[in-house]
C-alpha cells in the first residue's frame, strides 16, 4: 500500500471551496516563499489522506528463476501485466464503493457470489499475482519436508499423486485460468482445483496455499504451447515449499488440522 497525500475539498462542508478545486500531488506544492513552510499552502482547505494499491516486488531478482522462467517473461508478466492490473484497480478505486477494503475482502465482495462486479477482475488478478510470485523461489521445487509433506501425504496418498493431480488440473483448463492447491476449511484437508480467468479459492472462502498462473502470457515465451513442461518445471524447480509452510502455519490459526502432537516425556 502506498499513502498518497492528496489535496481534496473538505467533505464536511466547512472551509472555503473555490471553483478551481483540483487534486494536486505532493510534488506540485506551491510554496509561498523559498523557505520551508509548514503552513498549509492553500488556506481554508483540509487535507485528506488517500491510499491506493501499488505493485509489490517479487522476493527475488527478475532473472533468478532462469532457466525455468526467463527474465523476459518475468519482466513482462510482472512489469506489464501485473502492473496494468494494479493501475486499473486504482483507477476503479477512485470512484468505487470498495475503496478502503483490503484486497482479500475486495476479492470476496466483488465476486458477488458469481455475478462479479467491475472491480473483481483487477482486484483478484492483483491478489493472485502477488500470491504467485511468492509461491516461487529460485532453487525451489524438489520435496517438501516435515509437516507439509505429512499433510500432503495424508490428503493425496503420495506426493507423486499430488503432482499428478495438480498437473492434470492445470492441463484441463481451457482458456486462461489458474490452478490452486488450497486448504478446504470445512473438510479440513488440502485439495487441488483449476479456475477460470481470475478466480481464486478466496471467492468460495477457502485458503489458497499454492497458485500457478496458467494464462498463456505466463509460459508462451518460454514453452510456447507445451503446458505440461511448464507445470512440471514449476513443480520440480520453482515452487517455494518454504512459503507453503508459512501459509500452512497461518492457515492453522483458522482451521483445526488435527490434534496437536504433544511430545510425551
Amino acid at each position: 500500500m502506498v499513502l498518497q497525500l492528496v489535496m481534496a475539498p473538505n467533505w464536511c462542508g466547512c472551509g472555503v471551496a473555490s471553483a478551481n478545486s483540483t487534486k494536486i500531488s505532493t510534488n506540485a506544492f506551491k510554496m509561498s516563499s523559498n523557505r520551508f513552510n509548514f503552513s498549509k499552502p492553500y488556506p481554508g482547505r483540509a487535507y485528506r489522506v488517500t491510499a491506493y494499491y501499488s505493485l509489490t516486488t517479487p522476493p527475488y531478482e527478475l532473472d533468478a528463476l532462469e532457466p525455468y522462467m526467463s527474465k523476459r517473461t518475468v519482466e513482462i508478466h510482472w512489469g506489464k501485466h501485473h502492473n496494468e492490473h494494479v493501475e486499473r484497480l486504482n483507477k476503479h478505486l477512485k470512484t468505487s464503493a470498495f475503496y478502503g477494503h483490503t484486497l482479500e475482502e475486495m476479492v470476496k465482495a466483488t465476486y458477488n457470489n458469481g455475478s462479479p462486479l467491475v472491480e473483481f477482475n483487477d482486484s483478484s488478478s492483483v491478489w493472485s499475482h502477488d500470491f504467485f510470485w511468492e509461491s516461487m523461489q529460485p532453487n525451489g521445487g524438489s520435496m517438501p519436508k516435515g509437516g507439509v509433506l505429512d499433510q500432503i501425504e495424508k490428503d493425496f496418498g503420495t506426493f507423486t499423486n499430488f503432482k499428478d493431480e495438480f498437473t492434470f488440473a492445470a492441463l484441463s483448463i481451457f482458456g486462461p485460468g489458474w490452478v490452486w492447491l488450497y486448504l478446504k476449511k470445512n473438510e479440513r484437508k488440502l485439495a487441488v482445483a483449476p479456475t477460470q480467468n481470475a478466480i481464486s479459492p478466496l471467492v468460495w472462502g477457502d485458503i489458497p496455499i499454492i497458485g500457478l498462473d496458467m494464462w498463456e502470457h505466463a509460459y508462451y515465451l518460454d514453452y510456447k504451447d507445451d503446458r505440461s513442461a511448464y507445470v512440471n518445471n514449476f513443480l520440480d524447480h520453482l515452487v517455494s515449499w518454504h512459503s507453503v509452510m508459512v501459509r500452512m502455519m497461518r492457515a492453522e490459526a483458522f482451521v483445526n488440522l488435527g490434534e496437536p502432537k504433544i511430545p510425551v516425556a
Binding site: P176, E216, H217, Y220, L221, K224, D225
Partner: protein, 327 residues
C-alpha cells in the same frame, strides 16, 4: 481402347490390332515375322490385368478424420513482418490442428460426424449449455474464418456497400477501428473480436417491428470469450480478430492494442469481408422473406382461409402465345 490382343498362332501380343478378343486373329506372314523378330518387351503394350472387384463393404468403418485441417490460403511467412512466420506456424500447426484432432477424437463414430461444421457449432452450443466438443468445433470454425480474413499485403480501405454501411453505422473507418480496439482491450482473458452483420430478428413468430427501417439491419462490433462466436447469437460474422494471447504474444508481447491496429492497417482483407457482407445481406433478406411468408401462412390458417399452395418454382420461360382460332 481395347487391350492388346494376342496372335492366335504365335501367342505373341499384337499392339496394332484392336479387335474384340472373341475374334480369332489371323496374322499375315510378314506380321508374324515382325512379331517373331522383335521382342515383346520392346513393342508390345503390357496387357492390363483385370482388377479384382472389391467385395461390397456392408459395414464401412467410421472415417477416423471427419474433419481435416484446412490449409492456409498463403505460406507461413506471407504475413511477415506484421505476423511472424513462427507465430503463424505455431498457431496453425499446434493450436488449430490440436482443435481439429480433439474434435475428430470426440465426434468420430457419432451422429455429429455427418454434420457441417457451422451446424455442429450451433448444435453443440446447446443454447448456453455447451456439449464437450463445442470449444473444439467452434475454435476450428473461428480459426478457418480468421486465416481467411487476412491476406499478405492487406489493409487499405473498404469499398462499396461495406464502406457505406461502416460510415452509416460507425461514422468512419477510424471510428470503427477505435471501437474494435476498445472491444479488444476490454476483453478480459482470451476471446475474439468480431465485426458482424446483425439482422435484429428474434426468430419468434410475433417478432414484429412496429417501426421498421432500413437501419434495422446493421453492422456491430462484438467481443466473445474463449471459443464463442456470434454465430450462436444468429449474427453474420464478417471479420474476426483472435485476441487469445498465443496469436500475438511472440510478436507483440503484451501489446494487444498494437496487434489489433496492425491487423486493421496491414493484414485485413477487405475484399473477403465485402464478400461475406454481400452473402450475409442476401441470406438475411431471404430469411426475412421466408419468415414473413410463414407468418402470413400462419395468420391465414388461423383465419381458416383456404391456403393456396404456392408454387415456388422459378417462373417458366416466356413462350410465344398461341394464336386463338377465330371461329
Amino acid at each position: 481402347m481395347q487391350p492388346a490382343t494376342a496372335c492366335a498362332s504365335s501367342g505373341l501380343t499384337i499392339p496394332w490390332l484392336r479387335r474384340c478378343s472373341s475374334l480369332r486373329v489371323k496374322c499375315s506372314t510378314s506380321q508374324r515375322a515382325h512379331c517373331a523378330s522383335t521382342s515383346t518387351a520392346d513393342t508390345a503394350e503390357p496387357i492390363e490385368p483385370i482388377e479384382p472387384i472389391d467385395p461390397i463393404e456392408t459395414d464401412p468403418e467410421p472415417d477416423p478424420e471427419p474433419f481435416k485441417l484446412k490449409p492456409l490460403p498463403y505460406p507461413f511467412n506471407a504475413l511477415e513482418p506484421h505476423m511472424s512466420k513462427e507465430t503463424v506456424e505455431y498457431h496453425w500447426e499446434r493450436h488449430h490442428r490440436g482443435h481439429v484432432d480433439s474434435l475428430n477424437a470426440i465426434i468420430q463414430g457419432t451422429e455429429f460426424a455427418e454434420m457441417e461444421l457451422e451446424n455442429m457449432v450451433l448444435t453443440s452450443y446447446n443454447e448456453g449449455n455447451p456439449l464437450p466438443f463445442f470449444v473444439h468445433a467452434s475454435q476450428v470454425w473461428n480459426h478457418d474464418f480468421f486465416w481467411e480474413t487476412m491476406k499478405p499485403g492487406g489493409g487499405g480501405n473498404p469499398s462499396n456497400v461495406l464502406k457505406y454501411l461502416i460510415e452509416r453505422d460507425f461514422g468512419s473507418l477510424d471510428e470503427l477501428a477505435k471501437e474494435i480496439q476498445n472491444a479488444a482491450l476490454t476483453q478480459f482473458g482470451s476471446g475474439w473480436v468480431w465485426l458482424a452483420y446483425k439482422a435484429h430478428r428474434l426468430g419468434v413468430g410475433n417478432d414484429i417491428n412496429p417501426r421498421p427501417s432500413k437501419k434495422d439491419k446493421r453492422l456491430v462490433v462484438v467481443k466473445t470469450p474463449n471459443a464463442v462466436s456470434p454465430l450462436v447469437w444468429d449474427y453474420y460474422p464478417l471479420l474476426a480478430i483472435d485476441v487469445w494471447e498465443h496469436a500475438y504474444y511472440m510478436d507483440y508481447e503484451n501489446r494487444r492494442g498494437d496487434y489489433v491496429s496492425v491487423f486493421l492497417d496491414k493484414l485485413i482483407s477487405w475484399d473477403v469481408v465485402s464478400d461475406r457482407l454481400k452473402n450475409a445481406m442476401f441470406r438475411a433478406s431471404k430469411r426475412e422473406k421466408m419468415e414473413k411468408r410463414e407468418m402470413l401462412l400462419d395468420k391465414m390458417k388461423e383465419a381458416k382461409l383456404r391456403v393456396k399452395a404456392v408454387d415456388l418454382r422459378p417462373t417458366p420461360k416466356a413462350r410465344p402465345k398461341m394464336k386463338r382460332r377465330q371461329y
